[in-house]
């Protein structure tokens, strides 16, 4: 790319970025001009050229979800670029402190108790709702948290396990697996599998499901792949939410929803850095890191969740399709306007409760008693 072209692009992009928010409050962009420019720019086969524009908050989400959709990009956050291990640790622990405090508040509001313990030598948190209905007494959910294999240590990783316990009436074991910078791949998977091996000794695996979102969704799939490989019992159902099933930038919505998703914003922010930190030189396309490249035959029934603005919408639907092509019973739910994994950020948003209630209904249908 020549310097002149790049300057022109940046100038145009900046001009648009500055002008559009002001315009959006007054009137829609000039359609006739866009119509001509866009038709000209998309008159031949090739990449899709789209114009810069301001996209309003949809009226079709609940008011609470609308507020989440309207929220600014997560800054600092989406483009964090820690330069060394100590900078990573500082970022991880500052975010963990906030998330742990939020998790505590949610536990109290939803009446979920928490106990820290160890299973198979690995730290776990046991989340127990006020009441476990009789049908769920012998059932267990295993949770692997999200956070790009770097965020979510300790209590801060339990955010998603709490509404699942509360809305589903399930006992949940959330795995506090080791993470980079100190413990890159395969530490996280080794820990998750150590817990799984212990659990299937005391629970009938027909009564156990595994779930988790984002990185936790990828790990859920990778755990089933590894259990298959090692001849271990499989869970009776899984709920990989918006799974990070491909750690490379492969999948259409990595690009169509770039700059639209206000949670992850772009693959080329912290996300790519976390992928490389975790892989630690290992092939990103190894199915243990990017389970979309694995063999899904024999997988247990699955329910997948995403949103129309989710950077991982493609990963979710590609995973869903690949499960279906492998003959696996698999359901898909997609929420209007949602960016990445927003359904577990605040369990009091109506769409969040809906998402967890659907997953609970699916588990209830699939699990033995």
């Amino acid at each position: 790319m020549t310097g002149i072209r790049r300057s022109a692009l940046v100038a145009s992009a900046l001009a648009l970025a500055l002008i559009l928010p002001a315009i959006a409050q007054e009137a829609a962009p000039d359609f006739a001009s866009l119509e001509a420019a866009q038709s000209a720019a998309n008159a031949k086969p090739g990449p899709r050229t789209v114009p810069g524009r301001a996209i309003p908050v949809p009226s079709t989400a609940s008011p609470q979800l609308q507020a989440m959709i309207a929220a600014p990009y997560r800054v600092p956050g989406w483009n964090a670029d820690p330069k060394d291990a100590s900078a990573w640790k500082e970022l991880i622990s500052s975010r963990a402190a906030l998330a742990a405090a939020a998790a505590k508040a949610v536990r109290e509001k939803l009446g979920v108790s928490m106990e820290a313990t160890q299973i198979g030598g690995v730290g776990v948190f046991i989340l127990t709702p006020t009441e476990i209905p009789p049908a769920n007494r012998n059932r267990l959910l295993v949770h692997v948290h999200g956070g790009g294999y770097v965020f979510g240590p300790g209590e801060s990783g339990t955010g998603e396990a709490i509404p699942m316990a509360a809305f589903g009436g399930f006992k949940v074991i959330s795995i506090d697996y080791r993470m980079p910078p100190d413990f890159p791949y395969p530490a996280a998977m080794d820990d998750a599998m150590a817990v799984w091996k212990e659990i299937v000794k005391t629970y009938d695996p027909h009564n156990v499901a595994i779930f988790g979102s984002s990185t936790g969704g990828g790990m859920t799939l990778a755990m089933v792949l590894r259990a298959k490989q090692e001849g271990l019992p499989l869970p009776a159902a899984i709920a990989p939410g918006t799974p990070w099933s491909d750690l490379t930038e492969t999948g259409d919505t990595y690009l169509t929803n770039e700059w639209v998703d206000n949670v992850l914003v772009s693959y080329n922010g912290w996300l790519k850095r976390a992928a490389l930190l975790y892989a630690n030189g290992h092939d990103l396309k190894d199915p243990q890191l990017s389970p979309i490249y694995g063999d899904f035959s024999g997988f247990p029934p699955a329910i997948l969740t995403s949103g129309t603005r989710d950077l991982f919408l493609s990963l979710t639907v590609l995973t869903h399709r690949k499960l279906r092509r492998a003959g696996v019973e698999a359901e898909l739910q997609v929420f209007e306007g949602m960016s990445h994994a927003q359904y577990y950020f605040d369990p009091f948003v109506p769409e969040s409760k809906e998402a967890f209630t659907e997953i609970a209904r699916f588990f209830d249908k699939q699990l033995g008693k």
Copy 2:
């Protein structure tokens, strides 16, 4: 909006539209500059500001689907603006001639025979596959075609019915309902219901499903609403594909996928004009025109289909969620990179066959014999 601001916007948009395709062939946009501009433009709650950019064809679709994704905007077509009834008729019949020829070729390749007849005074086409498996001998599918309530008269509306008959092994009756400009709302619905009333006299409704995409998806939903209202039997299952369930520009992907979807491109092309022509002054939010505003309780099991680039992705997922909240069994399938309704444009694309095979599997599960 002031004239100066609008000029600046148009100049920027045009500059981007002209520059980006050239850049795309050389290198990715300059991420660091976009990162700064985008973070600044999205630092406060409000509309999402996105930059103009070139989005490559995803490697995650089949080669045949990749070719469809790479295709130019449908020009002339997406922004057609017929000025009077005779201009509409000319456009409709020129498109119909092409579509009818394509449908004939597909029938021959898939071994589906066609018979034109009338049911309840309404023209229909009966599509019959070479072989109907014993389980399907007493079953029937009723098809309502897409085309914005204006396109698809006669044989040209049978495109989607052919792969459904062939891949599912079902007898299909495709309704050639009346359309504008001569016959606006409610002629299309009156015709569809006249056929339905006759069919339930000779077929056990437990053995009958209704399906259709886009406008046909909206009509499928509206037929169930009207059957409920009139106390008629309901079908045993429905497959509203990427349903035009809201004729107003309501739904997030009307905007997030504007300029991305290369089939419809924008609500503000022919689509909006067709909505107004059909409604003929009637309220666009009447549930008979926009069934998303109707009461879905008591609906039969449904399977919905869309794509990640579909302008109607939001309409599809909003309809799916509303069905689920009404307690209806409802499945969702979303295909990578697909624009609006592309799964029925060419039944020889692997994802097309997959979509119809899933719908057939769903019907097989839901219908009596």
